[in-house]
């Protein structure tokens, strides 16, 4: 997993609430079997004028030049900023893979869909929650100065742009996962004895749970 603790980049403003994972990566790309290769299909329905799927040659598809991801310099942006409830809906981790494959490393929003938020943490994409006013000022800034850099310090919980510094909070365990990029499974397997001891006691207290299905 890509580690992330300090980051600098430019913004992509998506001035909407309730952006769902169906919009972030439509269903036709959920048939793919890998964890990579989704970047070209991020926001597919809005990004292209005609429909397509993983088999459609990209060159044959017309881009919607009015959509933010197709407008320079936003098409090179690495920090997405949106409003309430970003990533709500379906649990598809493919949505985060598409965001990451596009090159986005940080998402700023007023709130996130819970499963999506966790999926971000697992993939080295930092989800940052800011207040409504702060999000509005960032969107405003991105509209006015598309090229300007925003820097983020996850360890300190500080986001800086245009001479302003905003603090944000991130659960210590989330910050740790993002900045150290640890293999969580390896970490959990390290408490394997504890898990097995728990299983033994449950096997006594609730044997019906442990039947072969």
């Amino acid at each position: 997993m890509n580690k992330i603790s300090q980051f600098q980049g430019t913004l992509i403003p998506l001035d909407r609430s309730n952006i769902d994972t169906d919009a972030i990566l439509p269903k036709q790309y959920l048939k793919m079997l890998d964890k990579t290769g989704y970047g070209d299909f991020l926001f597919d329905d809005e990004r292209y004028l005609d429909p397509g799927d993983s088999e459609t040659p990209l060159q044959t598809r017309r881009k919607n030049q009015n959509f933010i991801l197709n407008i320079p310099p936003y098409n090179r942006g690495t920090i997405l900023v949106s409003k309430k409830n970003f990533g709500c809906g379906s649990s598809r981790e493919h949505a985060v893979w598409a965001i990451r494959d596009f090159g986005i490393r940080v998402i700023i929003a007023e709130s996130f869909g819970e499963i999506f938020f966790n999926n971000c943490i697992k993939n080295g994409v930092a989800p940052i929650i800011l207040g409504k006013e702060q999000v509005a000022s960032l969107i405003n800034f991105a509209n006015k100065k598309p090229d300007a850099q925003v820097s983020i310090n996850l360890t300190e919980g500080i986001l800086s742009f245009d001479g302003t510094h905003i603090t944000f909070s991130l659960h210590p365990s989330h910050r740790k996962s993002l900045s150290e990029g640890l293999d969580e499974i390896e970490e959990t397997l390290a408490i394997g004895d504890k898990i097995r001891a728990y299983e033994c006691s449950r096997l006594q207290s609730e044997p019906w749970v442990f039947v072969d299905f």
Binding site: N18, K31, D45, E93
Partner: protein
Amino acid sequence: MSSKTLYDKLWNSHCIDETHLYIDRHLLHEVTSPQAFSGLQMHSRPVWNKDSCLAVPDHAVPTRNRNLGTAGIVDPVAKKQVERLSENCLKHDIKLIDLTDNQQGIVHVVGPELGFTLPGTTIVCGDSHTSTHGAFATLAMGIGSSNVEHVLATQTLKTTKLKTMAVRFTGTPTEAITPKDLILKLISTIGTAGATGYALEYMGHAITNLSMEGRMTICNMSIEAGATAGIIGYDATTESYLMGIPRVRELPELNRALEYWRTLRSDENAQFDKEIEINLDSLESQVTWGTSPETSVTLDTPIPKAQCSNNTDSSSELERSLEYMGLYGGQTLRDLKIDSVFVGSCTNARIEDLRIVAEIVQGRTISPNLLYALVVPGSGSVRRQAEKEGLDLILQQAGFEWRSPGCSMCLGMNDDNLPEGSRCASTSNRNFEGRQGKKVRTHLLSPRLAAYSALAGKLTDKYE
């Protein structure tokens, strides 16, 4: 001992430490599992407890020609995905209910039917509607593929404790009100992010009076209010449903199990982090007008002109939804012409749902103007039960197509696709842009309204 909520009890009995929750049951389907299995393989890790897993292909499966098995899947990419699930299950010795199995269906319909879903357990699945299983006093949560891999490898989920919210339904609804109306009303009241970070517990007479099918419909859509889990306390209804399942009756130490399950309710004075009350006295049937499940209204309520919903906080967003849906502010939905009707999904494709539709359309014919009118049972067992009751004939005589189980038009990953820009009355759970097909306009409603609307070819709650 201090009073506890049901969520507290479920959490306490499963937390290994502050961040690791033990997972008893794991449901798998073809879409969110391949990457998890590849991850295991990459690190040569075994599955911790294969007996905790059950796999069912449901999302990308065709609803016709089922006897052909995977050979009946036209799309080669989808075919490969379904085959991959079989290969992975074979490799790890995981129980698979495959395409030709007469128990196959949508994971969230199959799990409870087979007694895989048990009270007092934790269940996960790489699917947001896992909350469905909470109807059985079960802590059930949707997870992403990385967590699917984590649970396969460690039997635990890394997570932290949720906050709790009690949702009390008060008052007495009229006979026309169905579980779908209750949950749509809740979502429109608190908004699609209203329960983010919470486990919801549904309470009140209206819930106690519901069948398990109805309770599942409600828990199913908890995620549409932002909740990770939705639960309902164990009672006599839960018990009699479970006792109807052979596999549950045969569980070891059943009497001890029953004794324990009966404690799976929130204690009388349990403190919730938040409580909300929804009065059902004057509730009318709900239909969504927009592109978020929180946009439900009655057939006769004018849809918003200006900023007024919980989460849509700018007029440009409202305009975007109205434009997408081909509607204008101030319009009412009654008699709005529809192109298709879909009765299906893990929300509303259980036997009771099909009975409601059949009862309404019996001896009548659906509108000839409909392009599609599909009934897709939630599982093979639902399908067989419906056929036993003759519902399939009633539905087909009325003009519905009678299909094999799967997610189908709920998300259109298979070949059940709606034409671009068409309008669909759907018993499913999401009306997002493009969910049912490019530019397709989805109105979420109950099976009851879907039936009346199919007959009329427009949104309605009565015979013409």
